[in-house]
Amino acid sequence: MSGVLVILEHRAFAQGSVTVPRVTLEALAAGVHLAQQLAIPCSAALIGDGLNDVLASPAFGPVRNVGLAQLLAVEHELLASYTADGFSIALHQLIASLAPEFVVFPHTYQVRDYAPALAARFGQSLVSDAIAIRIESGLPVFVRQLFQGRLNADYRMAASSRTPVPTFVSIQAGAFRAESLDAAAASAQPPQIEAFTPKLTSAQIRTVPAAPFRESSRSVDLTTASVIVAAGRGIGEQANVALIQSLAEALGAEMAASRPICDAGWLPMERQVGSSGQTVTPKLYLAIGISGAIQHLVGMKGSKTVIAINRDPSAPIFEIADYGVAGDLFEIVPALTEAILTTKAQ
């Protein structure tokens, strides 16, 4: 087919409803963009079992209407639950049969689990967590982050590598706009849904996954907080959580933290913001001693205003902050708490 193949993900719920995670639509937008730029067709595939109802569901409207060359249902009863073995084997067969030039994934925990193994079967590694794609001299350049977002890197293709081996790319959440699919949809004809049945036996699937669960019902819902004060590694030790707490109380804010603080047990896991914690969009996000690793930024970059206090002026948090203070939080935070209390008392 020599085009772009986007691998979709969906979530199906017991009551029969289906959702398409936003990051899947963003990866589709990236795939459509890449295909348009190179003037090649874009197709998409969904993996699972009993997918006809899923692909016909309202949630898949943006996928059906985006002008795909092919929409494939990769179906097998052994693909009903995700396993790295099942998905790698099935997609290996699909890709070998379609021979796309590019395979584009959403950068989800599931993709991180199988896509590197899949790419390795084609002698490739994955250009993972890409944040942008541009075309230079007719060839795509993929941009991804290094050093937890402190630097970026261009990944370039050699002209000779456009065929015959596919290039595998996963797209970071928030890097492309899912809304752009609506604009592309206007005049598109929905494609026929084509079934692809991989050859799979139960003996090939070596892991036994149990049903996903949640540890406990969350007692802290940060998603509705209008002001959040968040602490990061820069606070140094557990005793300093009190400093941040005083500031949060003065502001009437919820306390949150980046992963290392929760890993260390200084604040409970339910206060974690980021890819493995909650995604928040407060009016104000005050980041203290947070350097701004990618995993944290994806959970808070939708905040209306971001204020960052950090010792290191080159920390990535300053790239998304509206207001920044490069300085010693142990001096600034107590002074700020006091100034807020004084102001409120007036």
Binding site: V169, S276, A335
Partner: protein, 261 residues
């Protein structure tokens, strides 16, 4: 149980980064280095698993592929309790950035060891590709699970607790041999004791020249071509002055612009 832990040396988290003259990587000579954090958690999980099975239950082997200086990662692992170490010595330059090539080196060294379980950090703090462990399992033909917080031995192999998105978890069972990539935070890291550091001096670190494997290298279709400083996504107003001055400016912002006071 014979447990092997694949580890990587990376620049210290706060190390000032300068882009190299050819813009292909960073200036490495003046940097201080440390163990990749998720790999330290992988070692801790290996040591705990060994402890849980009893003192005479097997061994923990630390493995790294990197230039000569990367040996400090292995010495640290031995001081924390690893029994012995393997160092695949690679040239300092050119830097190897393809995880497939790194996994090929690790696989070549591991084939002679036949471990029951391989643990690795889920991703590196420098490249952040998050692939070496998964590719290694693929090359060795063994099952894997990623983003794991905890590993326990069961009669049929291992049972791992895997982290999913948005506060969800999942248990996965696998036969051995298997590979697991470890997410940070599932355990608390132990520190090297003086006794541990002393004992480490008598433990074996076997070095293997990477060239001795005779690998052909990889043909990645897209390669790291240029490192650059990211453009700002928002216009950041930096507030300066003494702590009291900065506090006053922040209060002004909170009151008049963000309007939360």
């Amino acid at each position: 149980m014979k447990i092997l832990v694949a580890m990587r040396q990376v620049p210290e988290r706060d190390a000032p980064l300068a882009i190299a003259a050819d813009a292909k990587w960073i200036e490495g000579s003046a940097l201080s280095y440390t163990t990749n954090e998720p790999d330290a958690y992988a070692l801790e999980e290996a040591l705990r698993l060994k402890d849980s099975l009893g003192p005479a239950s097997g061994e923990v082997i630390a493995l790294t592929a990197g230039p000569e200086g990367a040996a400090s990662v292995l010495r640290d692992a031995l001081a924390r309790g690893a029994d012995r170490a393997l160092h695949i010595v690679t040239p300092a330059s050119p830097q190897q950035h393809d995880p497939l090539a790194v996994a090929q080196l690790l696989a070549a060294a591991i084939r002679g060891e036949s471990p029951d379980l391989i643990l690795a950090g889920l991703q590196s703090d420098d490249l952040g590709l998050g692939q070496t462990g998964v590719i290694l399992a693929e090359l060795l033909g063994i099952p894997h699970t990623t983003l794991v917080l905890h590993v326990e031995a069961i009669s049929s192999g291992i049972r791992v607790k895997r982290e999913l998105e948005d506060g969800w978890f999942q248990y996965v069972e696998m036969p051995l041999p298997a590979l697991v990539t470890i997410q940070s935070g599932g355990n608390q890291l132990r520190y090297a004791t003086l006794m541990g550091i002393k004992k480490a001096r008598s433990k074996e670190v076997r070095t293997i020249d990477a060239a001795s494997f005779g690998l052909q290298g990889t043909a990645a279709s897209a390669e790291l071509a240029r490192v650059f400083v990211p453009e700002k996504q928002r216009e950041t107003r930096m507030l300066t002055g003494t702590a009291a001055e900065v506090a006053a400016k922040l209060v002004d912002v909170l009151r008049n612009e963000v309007r939360v006071l």
